[in-house]
Amino acid sequence: MSVFIALLIFCTFLCLYRVGKGPTAPDRTVAIDILGTLVVGFAAIFSIITKKDIYMNIGISWALLSFIGTLALAKYLEGRGFDE
């Protein structure tokens, strides 16, 4: 299992590279969106290791919060207020 976690951490560093380098703001937004989905994978692997269902709660709420973040950033990039 530790091999899989190491590979996922490698993916996370690729995303962080894109967050740091990304020439424009939407590039960084994409990388953050993908990072949110990768965390769900982390939660799933931890729930396999420990056989506890609390990690799946974390996964569901993380998927939800990353969806909100993506929508808010997309709306900000379009140059509109959050409430219109």
């Binding site: 490698f10 993916c11 690729l14 939407p26 799933a44 396999i48 799946m56 996964g59 969806f67 379009e78």
Partner: protein, 114 residues
């Protein structure tokens, strides 16, 4: 038996995750990156969650994993669509090697183009 199926799904899922993140780094402009990353990471994460179902059998963990698969499948392409539209409207042009851009042509000079 079910554990070996779970292990296989886990390996395939993480392989797709790695390919998606390599695509995020290698491809030239935001739209191509969005394509590679969204497709591969969505399917990869769904396969990891499916392997949870095979590892733990029917029970509280796998029912939550099924809910999570459903949620990721629903929200991930929607987020990709929102980012792509916002990027185009905020004035990010396509990569110079691109072939055509009907969206920019159709909105040339109109009020819609920000």
């Amino acid at each position: 038996m079910s554990e070996s199926i779970g292990l296989g799904l886990l390996i395939v899922g993480i392989a797709f995750d790695v390919v998606g993140c390599i695509g995020l780094v290698r491809l030239p402009d935001i739209y191509n990156r969005l394509q590679a990353a969204t497709k591969c990471v969505t399917l990869g994460t769904c396969m990891i969650l499916l392997s949870v179902v095979f590892y733990t059998g029917i029970g509280p963990i796998s029912s939550k994993a099924v809910l999570c698969i459903w949620f990721v499948l629903l929200t991930s392409p929607t987020g990709a669509h929102a980012i792509a539209r916002a990027a185009h409207r905020s004035g990010i042009r396509l990569w110079e090697g691109s072939f055509m851009d009907k969206y920019a042509e159709d909105h040339e000079g109109t009020e819609d183009k920000v």
